[in-house]
């Protein structure tokens, strides 16, 4: 796979095949941690961090351990195990050596353990038969797309708080409506073909 192919895959997954708006992965943190742009960015950074590392690790576990033994069907369970352990490890590492980053990411790090976007990336890497480099790049780009989406959405929500609307729409209802409109806006990218 040439360098251009990798780049095309990356741009494709950021805009056209955005995890949140076209694959519906990672909706939970997208709605849960998007109240302020700053925390949304923190969550996005944590996701980029974990997905990039998890892409590499799960690739290694699959091609070095599961495939040689003919245990491909175990990949979902094995990946969950890998991701959970990885997040735990990163959390402990950050807490000890980068306490500032640890407190900035706060509860978002452990939340990522059960984030379907992470598992989704790992499984898509296998499904699309990417090599190691492409897997890591794909993971990084997918998480970047997630960050882009959540930060844009947090900016919208910050303004929605000030907006006047009927009481029944306030809070979560208008959030869901805004998410739907944003997804429609992103659907505009589907006309662009990168691959």
């Amino acid at each position: 796979m040439s360098f251009t192919d990798v780049l095309l895959i990356m741009f494709g997954v950021i805009l056209v095949e955005n995890f949140i708006f076209s694959k519906f992965l990672g909706i939970c943190p997208f709605l849960g941690v998007s109240e302020k742009p700053a925390t949304a960015l923190g969550m996005g950074m944590a996701v980029i961090f974990v997905i990039t590392i998890a892409s590499g690790t799960t690739w290694a576990v699959y091609y070095l351990l599961l495939e040689p033994l003919g245990l491909e069907y175990l990949r979902t369970v094995a990946f969950i195990l890998v991701i959970a352990a990885l997040v735990q490890f990163i959390e402990m590492f950050l807490r000890r050596f980068v306490p500032a980053l640890y407190s900035a990411m706060g509860i978002y790090l452990p939340l990522i353990t059960t984030n379907c976007a992470v598992l989704g990336t790992a499984l898509l890497n296998i499904q699309n038969r990417y090599n190691f480099i492409t897997s890591v790049c794909f993971g990084f780009a997918a998480a970047t797309g997630f960050t882009l989406a959540i930060v844009i959405f947090a900016g919208l929500r910050a303004r929605l708080v000030e907006a006047e609307m009927p009481r029944a729409f306030r809070g979560f209802p208008i959030t869901l409506i805004a998410a739907g409109l944003l997804a429609m806006a992103f659907a505009g990218f589907s006309g662009i073909s990168f691959t």
Partner: protein, 281 residues
């Protein structure tokens, strides 16, 4: 045949074991000293994570208390006992606080309050408010139970169109106060035995057409109160609990039966209520 089962079990078990051992080692290597008081305080707190203190949960409050950001008596649910125990952990004296309970300030049950239409929409007060609620009174309880859903202690139920707080279950967290779109719920001292169960600021003549038990602002209670504990403003009486002695004179004098009274029997609040329909005749 054995391999089909044994290999996967060994692989997954092995993976789990390796990660487990690695994490155990990492936990030792990367151990960070935490404030022991945080865990001690967290164990003392009720653990209901009701959010009444303003923090997202009991663990966050414990951290804030240990850091000195919150006072040891910040948990209204735990009350004085918990506050004192936390004070011991922190090594400080704790001010005693008055235990409070939530009280819904509306008496317009059943046909006492006039209805303007039959509401058949979404069972949520905020949603029903779009149509102004089914009662003619624009201050009254909508009775669709938004506060019931908000109460983390299951202490509220809607009886005959008005929400009622069970004082035995109420822990005073105040979650319902914020949930009520009409702002009808007030926190009053736990031992308070009189309260004005109305929020209507309409003129007396208007209130009379809307509800048989609404406060009309006649000031009879204000004039009769021996300790000047009741004040009427905007056609609505309000009791000042610092001055109220619980003499019950206002309850007896109130022509609209808007002021409720209760007595404390064996530590429990028992409401005395003569139904106004009977008295009206």
């Amino acid at each position: 045949m054995k391999d089909i089962i044994l290999i996967p079990v060994a692989v997954l078990g092995g993976l789990g074991l390796v990660f487990g051992v690695l994490l155990a080692i990492a936990a030792k290597v990367f151990a960070v000293k935490t404030d022991e008081r945080i865990t001690a305080i967290a164990e003392l707190l009720p653990g209901a994570n009701c959010g009444g203190c303003g923090y997202s949960g009991c663990a966050q409050l414990a951290e804030a208390i240990a850091k000195g950001e919150a006072s040891p008596n910040a948990c209204s649910v735990g009350g004085n006992e918990v506050a004192e125990a936390i004070g011991k952990v922190m090594g400080v004296e704790v001010e005693r606080t008055v235990r409070k309970r939530a009280q819904v300030m509306c008496s317009g049950t059943g046909n006492l309050a006039t209805k303007k239409y039959v509401y058949k929409g979404v069972a949520d007060c905020a949603a029903a408010l779009l149509g102004g609620g089914d009662k003619l009174c624009s201050y009254g309880c909508i009775g669709l139970g938004t506060c019931v859903a908000a109460c983390p202690y299951d202490a509220i139920e809607v009886v005959d169109g008005v929400a009622v707080v069970d004082s035995r279950k109420c822990r005073g967290c105040g979650a319902c106060v914020n949930s009520c779109p009409r702002g009808l719920i007030e926190m009053i001292p736990y031992g308070a035995t009189q309260w004005v169960a109305c929020k209507s600021q309409e003129k007396g003549a208007v209130t009379r057409t809307q509800c048989r038990v609404g406060c009309i602002g006649c000031k009879i209670c204000e004039r009769n109160c021996p300790t000047k504990a009741i004040e009427v403003s905007n056609f609505l009486a309000k009791i000042n609990y610092d001055k109220c002695t619980g003499c019950n004179i206002c309850v007896e004098k109130c022509p609209q039966h808007t002021i409720w009274s209760a007595r404390i029997e064996g530590g429990r609040l028992v409401i005395n209520r003569e139904m106004p329909e009977e008295k009206a005749k």
